[in-house]
Symmetry: C2
Subunit: 274 residues, 2 copies
DNA sequence: ATAAAGCCTCCAGTAATGGGAGAGTCAAGT
DNA sequence: ACTTGACTCTCCCATTACTGGAGGCTTTAT
């Protein structure tokens, strides 16, 4: 008979762990002194214990181990569980290596720029949404304000209900200083009559949008695009449609431009042939 | 101003998580209604939130993130933390791939043999220990009993104090049926006079011993050796000394041979040139 | 006989939430 | 003005596989 403290000498377990295994019924001592409560084990329990440890080292939970060590467990059951575990481990491996690349990417940037990266890129889904919009070719980006100030009153006039922040869709494939082709839109709850240049339709959704949040004046928003484009290239994506900007800050709210918050979205797809 | 439920629409985060971040001071709402307790956030907190999520995705704990987002944290501090994280992730990657090979090895065995493996192999350290022993060439393994029955009374006679189960060291490099060169030993607490064939010395320790536990009659112990040798080959080790057997069961205790428990140990070293 | 070491139970804590109870609040529609 | 339904609040419990510690017996060694 062994006392609980003898086991740690034979296998890589702690006394605390053994007490816990007793509690959950995974490995019960062969006898327990009914007066002192002392647990007594037998060397013949050593194989079971080493098996428990081996399975634990494979990443199985104690509950799963308990199930596997039941007397009447079938082979196919064991194989099933192991296959599932195999899948889980592979998943975790991928997750970790993704993590590693993310950390290394950050590390590179911090080392190069001497500060924290300004933009975090998030891949998200953009569901389709009903919008009221107006599209036009404007002399410059600074003029989109005029579109908004035409669009908003129109929506109000026809009783449309805005259900989200306004957005802008930039159709130019390359960056242009002048004569920019943009669409300005408001998400709305229900259809609204179109009139002249004002359209109402279901704005296309995308499964993969690379997005980032820009804080500050619109003048500096190209930095957000730079960060996005870099991310897209590094991660093996390519641009798959016109980009969007979502304006979380109402310019009439008296907030200084340095506090403006804008989300920039670029639809992307994995580069094939790689 | 955003209510707590508006944030999950902008970032991949749950309401519960936001409340927790508030509690631990990682991301506090810009205002809290002092009567209703409602939390109100601002879109300008979005960059901080996305940064939190980005760092979380890299495997940093919330506490580490909080430290990184302090105002006055230095670049070298950031770099240090990231380097540490990088190391941790690499470690975990290795751990997981070790796990994967273990699971796959099991899977192979279970598929081939239609049952759970009989032996778990554990790599452990064997510290040097003082022993009293007798070495002899015996006609067969069945005769080691005679050595024990000479050795035990001698130790008793000279007042030696046994501090562990008896062991046997097998010196033959290859398996032999007859004329086996074995040493039988008892760990003792302190030096004991040697006499004739009875020696007392410090038995060599090994840093790496591949070990397994055999339950059953000694007749079937070769299965344990087979399992060990297979493991040694599969895992890129080679035998580095004479193997040992440790007898946990006292044959005089009235236990049937099918319940005998023996640990088999083989010193190993990594195969070089690979 | 005494001291040291070992054992017992019970409690608290871990990391980052998720689930749910019970109660209060808000916004929209009648 | 009222009702409904969607939100929100706090508080508590649960998760995993233990570790650490307090306070109190029991065993072993000297």
């Amino acid at each position: 008979m062994l006392k609980i403290g003898d086991f740690p000498k034979l296998a890589r377990v702690s006394v605390k762990a053994l007490r816990y295994y007793d509690e959950i019924g995974l490995l019960k001592p062969v006898s327990v002194d009914q007066f002192t409560g002392y647990r007594y084990y037998s060397t013949s329990q050593l194989p079971r214990l080493t098996r428990i440890i081996a399975l634990k080292d494979m990443g199985l939970s104690l509950e799963e181990i308990a199930r596997l060590l039941e007397e009447d467990v079938s082979i196919s059951h064991i194989l099933d569980l192991l296959h599932i575990k195999q899948g889980e481990i592979k998943e975790r491996l991928e997750e970790e290596s993704l993590r590693l690349t993310r950390v290394e990417e950050w590390l590179k940037q911090v080392e190069k720029e001497g500060k924290m990266p300004d933009y975090e890129i998030v891949l998200k889904k953009a569901p389709p949404q009903k919008v009221v919009s107006v599209r036009a070719t404007l002399p410059s980006y600074g003029d989109t304000g005029t579109l908004f100030s035409k669009l908003a009153p129109y929506i109000f006039e026809v009783g449309g209900q805005m259900i989200g922040p306004p957005l802008e869709i930039i159709y130019d494939e390359e960056f242009k200083e002048k004569d920019v082709d943009v669409e300005v839109a408001f998400p709305v709850a229900a259809n609204v009559p179109a009139k002249g240049e004002f359209k109402c339709y279901d704005l296309k959704g995308y499964d993969h949008m690379a997005t980032t949040v820009h804080k500050g004046s619109y003048d500096t928003i190209s930095a957000a695009y730079n960060a996005l484009m870099r991310w897209i290239e590094v991660n093996g994506y390519q641009v798959a449609g016109p980009s969007r900007e979502i304006y979380f800050t109402d310019p009439n709210a008296g907030v200084p431009p340095s506090e403006y918050v804008t989300e920039v979205q670029v639809p992307v797809e994995k580069v094939k042939g790689k």
